[in-house]
C-alpha cells in the first residue's frame, strides 16, 4: 500500500504546472489514440475482404439484437457466431432466427442438438429480421477474428511516439540543459581569463573591505533577536498544530486493492451510473461494496477489455488478468460458461473510514438531498486507483452543512417545516444548518 502526497501540496502544484506547460508541446499527437486508429483500420481492412452484405448495418443489428447472448468469436449464453454459415445452411439459419422454438418442436436434429447443448435456453424469435438484414449480420460476424490489431496497434503507437512529433520533450530538455551548462562554463572561463589579464597588466582589483559578520550584528541587535524568536516560536507552534491536526486525517489514502478495479473505465469511459453497483446508497446508511454477482451481471459476457481500454501504465493483459481474478473469486469458468462453486470472497481494503462515533447516512445525502457522489468522493470517474479525496473531518462536514441549501421542493415532508422556518429566518432557501444540521446529536449517538 502506498500513501500519495496531499493533492494540493506545493510540489504537486509545481509538477502539475510543469506538466501543463509541457502538454502544449505534444498536443498534436495526443489527440488521436493510435490504438483506436489501428483497431479501426484493421476492422475496415477485414470489412473490405468480405463483400456479401453491409457490415456496418450488420454490426449495429448485432449489437442491438444479438450481443446480449452471442459473441462473434467466443461462447457466451449462446454459441460463437463466427463460422456459423459453415456449420449450417443459410436457409436453416434464417428459419432458426425467425422461429427457433418451432424448429426444435419439429424435431430438427441440428436445432435440438444446439438446444440441448446450451442448457435448453430458448432463443427468442426475431420474425422482424429480413433476409437482407440476416445477411448483413452474418457478414459482420463472419469477418475473420482481427488478430492483427495487437501488432498493428502496437506498431502504430510506437510509430506515433517516435515519429509523430519529430522531437521529444526529453531531447528538448537535454539540449536546453546542455546550453545552460555551456553558458555557465563560458562565463566562468571569461571571468578567469579577465582576471589573468588584469594580473598580467598590473591592474589592481579593488579589495572588498572586511565587514563585521552579519550574525554578529544580528546578535547585537536585541530587538531583532526578540522579534525573530517570537516569529520562530509562532511558526513552530503553527507547524506543530498543523502536524497534530493531520493525525487521523487520511486524505489521499490510496491503498492497493486485491483486484485492480478501475473506476476510470467503469464510471468514466463506460459511464456506468454509480448507483448501479452501489445500489444501497439509495436506501441505506452504507453505500455498500457491490457483491460480486453484480460484477458478473456484465462480466459474464465481458471476459477481456477492448484494446482501446489499455493505457500506457496498464496494458490489456494486465486488465484481462484482473478480470480473471474476478472469475476466480466467483468461481466462474469462462470456458464452460458455468459456476464451479469454488468461491473466494474478495477482501477489499476500506478507504473511507469514519470513526464509530460519527453517524453518516448515504441515503440521506444521495436520495433525499440529491448530492452527486463526486461532491465527497472527488473525480471518481477519473480515478484509476481510488483515493480518499475529502479530508472527512468534522469541519469539512459542518462547512458543507452551513453552505448547502436543502433540496425541499416537491418533498411533502419538508412542506410544514419549510414554511415555518422560512418565516422565522426570512429566507426562501434553507441551509442544512438552519434545519438543525449542526446539532451534535444529529451525527453523534
Amino acid at each position: 500500500m502506498k500513501k500519495v502526497k496531499f493533492r494540493h501540496s506545493t510540489s504537486r502544484l509545481l509538477l502539475l504546472s510543469v506538466v501543463f506547460l509541457l502538454s502544449f508541446t505534444n498536443v498534436n499527437f495526443a489527440q488521436e489514440d493510435p490504438a483506436a486508429i489501428g483497431d479501426e483500420q484493421a476492422t475496415e481492412a477485414v470489412a473490405a475482404e468480405s463483400s456479401s452484405g453491409d457490415v456496418a448495418n450488420g454490426k449495429s443489428l448485432f449489437n442491438s439484437l444479438c450481443a446480449a447472448c452471442h459473441k462473434p468469436y467466443s461462447k457466451s449464453i449462446g454459441p460463437a457466431l463466427n463460422g456459423v454459415s459453415e456449420r449450417h445452411s443459410l436457409a436453416w439459419i434464417e428459419s432458426w432466427i425467425q422461429n427457433s422454438a418451432a424448429m426444435i418442436a419439429s424435431g430438427d436434429a441440428q436445432a435440438v442438438a444446439i438446444y440441448e447443448e446450451y442448457n435448453k435456453t430458448a432463443m427468442p424469435a426475431f420474425p422482424q429480421l429480413t433476409q437482407v438484414e440476416i445477411g448483413d449480420i452474418l457478414a459482420y460476424v463472419e469477418q475473420p477474428k482481427p488478430t492483427a490489431p495487437v501488432a498493428a496497434g502496437g506498431g502504430g503507437s510506437e510509430a506515433g511516439s517516435s515519429t509523430g512529433g519529430g522531437v521529444s520533450n526529453n531531447v528538448i530538455l537535454m539540449i536546453l540543459a546542455f546550453v545552460l551548462v555551456m553558458l555557465l562554463l563560458v562565463l566562468f572561463l571569461v571571468n578567469k581569463t579577465l582576471r589573468k589579464f588584469a594580473a598580467a597588466s598590473g591592474v589592481e582589483l579593488p579589495v572588498k573591505e572586511k565587514r563585521k559578520p552579519l550574525y554578529k550584528s544580528f546578535v547585537e541587535n536585541q530587538f531583532l533577536v526578540l522579534v525573530t524568536a517570537i516569529i520562530v516560536l509562532l511558526a513552530s507552534g503553527y507547524m506543530v498544530y498543523g502536524f497534530f491536526m493531520q493525525v487521523g486525517v487520511d486524505q489521499g489514502y490510496q491503498p492497493i486493492q486485491p483486484i485492480h478495479y478501475s473506476h476510470r473505465i467503469h464510471a468514466g469511459d463506460n459511464q456506468i451510473e454509480c448507483k448501479y453497483c452501489h445500489s444501497s446508497a439509495r436506501t441505506s446508511k452504507h453505500s455498500g461494496i457491490p457483491s460480486l454477482n453484480v460484477c458478473m451481471n456484465c462480466h459474464k459476457s465481458i471476459g477481456e477489455v477492448a484494446e482501446s481500454t489499455a493505457t500506457e501504465e496498464y496494458s490489456k493483459e494486465f486488465y484481462d488478468k484482473e478480470i480473471k481474478k474476478l472469475y476466480e473469486a466467483t468461481g466462474w469458468d469462462p470456458a464452460n460458461q458455468a459456476y464451479t462453486g469454488e468461491t473466494k470472497p474478495v477482501k477489499w481494503v476500506r478507504i473511507h473510514n469514519l470513526p464509530d462515533f460519527a453517524y453518516f447516512n448515504h441515503s440521506q445525502h444521495v436520495s433525499v438531498a440529491g448530492i452527486e457522489c463526486q461532491k465527497c468522493h472527488g473525480p471518481i470517474q477519473e480515478m484509476e486507483v481510488v483515493y480518499q479525496d475529502a479530508p472527512l473531518t468534522m469541519g469539512w462536514c459542518i462547512n458543507c452543512h452551513r453552505e448547502t441549501n436543502v433540496k425541499m421542493a416537491g418533498n411533502e415532508y419538508y412542506e410544514k417545516i419549510h414554511e415555518e422556518l422560512s418565516k422565522k429566518y426570512g429566507v426562501e432557501e434553507l441551509t442544512a444548518a438552519q434545519l438543525g444540521g449542526l446539532e451534535c446529536g444529529k451525527c453523534h449517538y
Binding site: 500500500m1 493525525v247 487521523g248 487520511d250 489514502y253 491503498p255 444501497s280 436506501t283 441505506s284 446508511k285 452504507h286 455498500g288 461494496i289 457491490p290 457483491s291 460480486l292 454477482n293 453484480v294 473469486a329 466467483t330 468461491t343 470472497p345 474478495v346 477482501k347 477489499w348 481494503v349 476500506r350 473510514n353 470513526p355 464509530d356 462515533f357 460519527a358 453517524y359 447516512n361 441515503s363 440521506q364 436520495s367 433525499v368 416537491g410 418533498n411 411533502e412 415532508y413 419538508y414 412542506e415 410544514k416 417545516i417 415555518e420 422556518l421 422565522k424 434545519l435 438543525g436 446539532e439 451534535c440 446529536g441 444529529k442 453523534h444 449517538y445
Partner: protein, 1026 residues
Amino acid sequence: MSSNKKYWKSVEELNENSSIVETIQQKEFAEEIPTDEFLGDKDSLSSSSTTRRDFLKYVGFSTAAASLAACEGPVIKSIPYLVQPERIVPGIANYYATTIADGFDFSSVLVKTREGRPIKIDNNTLSAGRAGANARVNASVLSLYDSKRVKRPMANGQNVSWEDFDKQVGTALEGVTGEVVLLTQTFASPSTSKLINEFSSKFGNVRHVVYDTVSEDAALTAYQAKYGTRALPNYDFSKVGTVVSVGADFLGDWQGGGYDAAFAKTRLPENGKMSRHIQFESNMSLSGANADKRIPVTPAQQRAVLAALYGYISGASTSGDLPGKLDDAVVKAASQLRKAGSKGVVVSGLPDADAQTLVLEINQALGSQVMDSANPKMTRQGNAAAVTKLVEDMQNGSIGAILIAGVNPAYSLPNSKEFVKALKDIDVSVAFSMKEDETAKLCKFIAATPHYLESWGDVQFTKNNFSLMQPTIRPLFDTRQFQDCLLKWNGSDKSYYEYIKETWSSLGTDAWNTALHDGVFEGASPATAETSASEFVGSTINTSSAVRNLSATSEAKGFQLSLYTKVAMGDGQQANNPWLQEMPDPLTRASWDNYLTMSREDADKLGLINENVANGALDGSYVNITMDGVEVKKVPVLIQPGQAKGSVGLALGYGKKEAIQEEMQVGVNAYPLYKDFSSVQYVNIEKASGVHEFACVQLQNTLMGRGDIIKETTLEVFNTKDKNAYNKTPEVSLNHVETMVTSPEVDLWESFDREVGHHFNLSIDLNSCTGCGACVIACHSENNVPVVGKEEIRKSRDMHWLRIDRYYSSEDSFTEDIEKKEDISGLGESLTQLAEMESPADNPQVVFQPVMCQHCNHAPCETVCPVAATSHGRQGQNQMIYNRCVGTRYCANNCPYKVRRFNWFNYTKNDEFDYHMNNDLGRMVLNPDVTVRSRGVMEKCSMCIQKTQKTILDAKRDGRVIEDGEFHTACSAACDKGAMVFGDVNDKSAKIVNKVEDKRMYHLLESVGTKPNVMYQTKVRNTSEA
C-alpha cells in the same frame, strides 16, 4: 550507669553460638541471590550475542517504531457478499415475526435483524390479546449468543457428527429393553404432538411425560375436571370491573403471565371509572404492589379466604372462622364482586386443585365475562403426577430409554437426587439441550439444539389462537432441533419445516404465507390430540368437599414459604443471561440474587438484620431453611415490607452451577423445597452465621412525604375535586407573590423556540405502569448498555439508562405520609418523625416510577459542562456527545434526577467484566447504530435519537408527512400496557398532545423549573369500599 539489658528479636539470638544469628547479621539476604549463576558463568555470558548496548538499541528502536506505527491508521478490510441475498441490504434492518415457546414464556414477537443477525425483540402488535414480550423475552435475544451453548452433538462425552450421532442413537434405541420415555417441556405445538404420536407408533412402548418446571398442575386439574380439557382458563382482563386475587400474581408470571397489558387498560380513570383490584397475598408481588387494596395473609389463610369468598358469593354457609378484620375485608370484596356482576372475576395462585375448582365455581356463579372457558390456554400441559410416577419407574428400572427435551430436571426437580441416581442407570439417555447443563451432563447423548430464533415451530396459545416460529438466522452452531431429530429417527426424510407446512396444509399457500408474515393466525388445531399415556381419573371435584378442605386448614408450625418466580429470572432457563441477572427486581430492587423475603416483625424475632454499610450498600443475615429432611443452607434474608407475618418468600430459578459462567452462579437453588410441585410449603428457619452482600440499586425506600416526585390520589378525589386538589402546580414567591413555576417570569432561562419542527415528549402513566421491567431490558438491547456486575452495582455504579424506582409509603398510604410531614412542627418533632418516615409501613402502598433522562428544556447539566459535550437539540432531546466528553462528571452532580451514568471502566473487551461484551459471540447483539461507549465518558438516555432520526429519514426519502404513532423509543415500543406514550407535540393530532393537556399530567420535581420533556400522569387508586 551501664545496663545489661539485651534486646532481642528472636529467641535464637539469645544463644550466643548460633550460626544462624551470625549469618543473618552479616548478610542482607537470608538466601543467596543467584546472580553468579548467570554472571559467573563466562561461557553463557559471552555466548549471548546481545550486548548491553545492543539491548538499549533494541529498546530505543522498538519504542520509536511503536510510537510511529501508532500514527498510521489500521487497515480495515471489507468483504462483500459473493451473491447478496435479495432482502439483505447492509445497514437496513429486517423484521421477522416469530414465537418464543421455551416452556415458560410463550409470546409472539417481532425480531429485528441487521445484516442477518437478530439484535432486538419487539412486541408483535398483530398478536394483540396474547402475552406481550416481557423482560425475559426481550432478553432472550442475548441467550442466542450465549458462549456456553453446546456447539455440536456429543455422544459419551465425545464430539461426533450428526451422522454418527443418528447411527449410535438409532442402534441404542433399537436394542432398548423397557419403556421409552419422552420427558419434555410444554411445546403446545400441534405438529410436535403429531410427531410424537408417530414416534410412539414406530417405537411402540413410548410414554410422553410433559413437565413444567414451574407447575400449574392444580389449575390444569381443576379445569380438566370441570371442562374436560387439560388446559388453563383464559382471562380477558380488559373486561374487568372488579378483580379479587387470592395469591395470584396475575400481573406477573401467574399461569404463564401475559395478562398485564389487558388489565392495564382498565386502570385509566376515564369517564370517572376504573377497575377495582383487591389482592390477598403473602409475598409482596407486582400485583399486590399495584392493587387498590392489598391484604397481607399467609397462604393458609388464603385458603380460608377463598372458601369464605365462595360462601359469600354463592350464599352457601362456610364453617371457616376468619379473624374479624380479615372477614370484614372478604365480605367487602364479595359485595363488590357481586356488584360488578359479569365484570367481576376471582383468580387464585394457590397450588391446590380444590382452590382452583372454587375459583372456577365463583367465576361461573358471577357469570364472569372475564373468564373465557371456551377458548382455554394451552401453554401449560405439565402433569405433576406423571413426573412423580416417572421418577418412581426410573428407580424401579422399568425405563429403557429416556429422551429429555427442553427441561433440566436434574436441576429443577424437587427430588433431583433420586432422579440423578436413576438416570445414571438408564441404558439410553438423550438430552436435547442448548447447554451442557446438570441433566445433559449425565446423559449419554447430548443433541445440541438450536435457540428458538434458529428454529421452526408452531404454537397453540389457546384453543383457537396459533402462532408460528421461524428462524431469523442460520444456526450458529452444528445444531438440530428436537423435532428434526424425531423426524429423522422416525425414518422420514422431511425437514420439520416441511412437516409443519404439511400439518397446516389446510390453510393453503396464501394463508400460510400471511400467517408466517404476521406470526399469528386463528384456526382450529388440525392435528389429532396426543394419545396421552397418563391415565386421568375423570372424576369431578366435589365443591362442598373442596370448601371443607380449604376452610379446615390448620396452621402448622414454622413458617409458610411461598415459592415464586422473579420477573427477571423466571424458572431459571436464562440464568446465564447477564442482562437478566443485572435487572433489579421491581420490588426489592436487588439484582444478582435471590433471597428469603420476610416481614420485619418475624426478622426481629429471629434476630435477622438488614443494614446499610459505609458505602451505602445493603447487607443482610443468612438463614438455614429446613423441611422434612431437605435443608437449604445460607439463604440471605431481605426484609420485605408487606410480607404477611408468618410467611416467607423465595424465588426459584437461581443457584445454577452447570453451563453457567462463574459470575452468574449466584443465589440459592430453591427447587429442592418445591416438594410435590407445590409453591406453598411449611419450613423451619434458623439464623446462620455470616453476612450477605446484596447488590441493591435503591437504598431510599420511602418518599418522605415529597409529593412532587410521586403524585397519587384516589378515584373519589379525582372525580369530584379540582385539579389543584391532587395535582397542584408548585408555586414560588416572586416579589412576595406566589407565582406558578411554569410561568415565564420566574424562569432564569431564555426559552428555545419549540414550535418549529418536531418536538418530542414522552408521557409515563403511573396508573398503567405495573413495574414489569420490559422497558429496562428493551433499553439495554437497543442502546448497548453495558453490564457491570454485582460488585459494581453494590457501589451504585449501575449503568441502566432507564430505572424503575419503587417507593413504599411509610404510613398506610402516601396521602397520610404527606399529611404527617406537613403536620410536623418544631425541631424535636421533625427529627423524630422524619426518622420514622424513613422506614416503610408493614403493609405499605407501593408505586413504581420509571425514570430516565428527563430531557429538560432548561437542563442543569448542559450549563455546567466545560466542554459542551452535552447540549440541547431543537427536537427536545438533551444530547450527550461521547467523543467530546472528558469525564468531569459535573453534569451528573448537577442533575436533579440522577439519571446520568459514568463509565468507570471499559466494559467492552475487558476480562474484568466478562459478560457478553467481552466475547465475539456476545458482541453480535450490539446495535450497530449506537456507539459503544468507552471508559471515562458520561452516558444517559438519548430518547432513542437513532430511532426518531430513522423515522424522519424514512419519511424524507418517501416524501411524506410523518403520522402519529410512527415515532417510538425502545421503552415506549416495549410497553405493551401503553403506559409510555411517545410522540411529537408539534403534531396537533398526536396522542401525546392529549397527554400534555391531561389533568393528571405533572413533571418530576417541577419546582426545580427544569421544564422536562418527560411527563408523568398522576397515579389514581380506586379506594371505594362500596
